[in-house]
Symmetry: C2
Amino acid sequence: MYAMITFDRNWQFPFMTKTRSSAQTENAIPRHNYHHGDLRRALLDAAVQFIETHGVEAVSVRAVAKMAGVSPGAPFRHFATRTALLTAVAEEALNRLAGAITLSLQAAAEQNPLLQFRAIGVGFLRWAFANPTHFQVISARAVIDFEGSPLRQRNDAIRTRMNALMNEAAATGLLRPGDVGRHQIAARALVYGLARMYVDGQFPSWGLDESKALQESIAILDQFIASISA
Amino acid sequence: MYAMITFDRNWQFPFMTKTRSSAQTENAIPRHNYHHGDLRRALLDAAVQFIETHGVEAVSVRAVAKMAGVSPGAPFRHFATRTALLTAVAEEALNRLAGAITLSLQAAAEQNPLLQFRAIGVGFLRWAFANPTHFQVISARAVIDFEGSPLRQRNDAIRTRMNALMNEAAATGLLRPGDVGRHQIAARALVYGLARMYVDGQFPSWGLDESKALQESIAILDQFIASISA
DNA sequence: ACCTGAACACCGTTCAAGT
DNA sequence: ACCTGAACACCGTTCAAGT
């Protein structure tokens, strides 16, 4: 069975030069490109699907291309390297994570700073446990280009927010004595460690029921928050 | 320049069958095998060296073979698969980790259970920060065979020890109220999370000086221990 | 413009042949 | 017994050629 093949209606031989605007005027039919209309989108989806079954490291551009029904070289028109493809997946993932955290924060908007801080952790855990594939991708800094992408700023924004809440909590006397920065890093390491232990399949070996992983992880976070409370 | 090549003095054509003991009696000269005497050892060392510069995922059996000065197929006489090679590296790593923890525990033998529990964490951090390559390998469960190796039991032994110390701490009134198991997992996730954040290069993005990473991590652990103390 | 398909330099792994 | 080296089925990436 063949995929429906259409030719790019906007395509023109190089010598048939015209401006973009005039092309749009002359031909308003939305470009349904060769094969997909949106190979970029199809490749990102195929990559996620592949990662779900074979893991991040096993991703091959050729396999993803085959899943999308195109030739081995086609993806390189949209992503310069394998890393660029995986980085694009990571960017989508982090966008969704930021969304989940924002939602979680909004639900806790009326609560005290420490509980808002907790809400970020809960949002992170909820997201990571529900989207282990995406979490793995944003954590796999060996195969993505973290520094050379908006990933870095997104990450910094979340960190800054946590920082502000923690300082506010300290200022309003919600924390027991201790270095505020260290409490913050501890919370971050705790939540990150829990998520990693889960996706790395370490929960069973630590005597934790995987079906109650999220529930238990939130309970652990809550006990930690209680421990650092005044 | 050629590596020194010697022929296996114990080698014999298949039809020249004799028992192993008689072979040893007839020829006491220690087998200095073809090329290395110990290709297995050479491959493990080459693998670690390779991982230090290129990361675990990038390990190729061919590259490791070339580093050891042998043909592409040679390693497969000692390790059935690429995974088996990396798993062997992980086993060495975990043995050393267990050694470091034992040492750390011995130094704290006179202290209370909670401080002994802390000592395990400090031993782990010290080891992980000093041997990031080995830590990465034992954490990379995607590329090693964790379940089908002594790794699992080694890991369980450490966990059991932590469990016992934590229960003892609870029994002797050293812990503040809360679920003991959750305190234990929290400590584990905290320490694992810190080590991973370090090797994943996340310390700078969290505003932590990498040169003081170990020192700061221990301080964070100590503050956590203080938080859960009665 | 976007994709194909051949080509190049790599992989992991197997296996007959050499010593 | 242990290693070589060719072979097979894969990779990522490039690029001239097609539509």
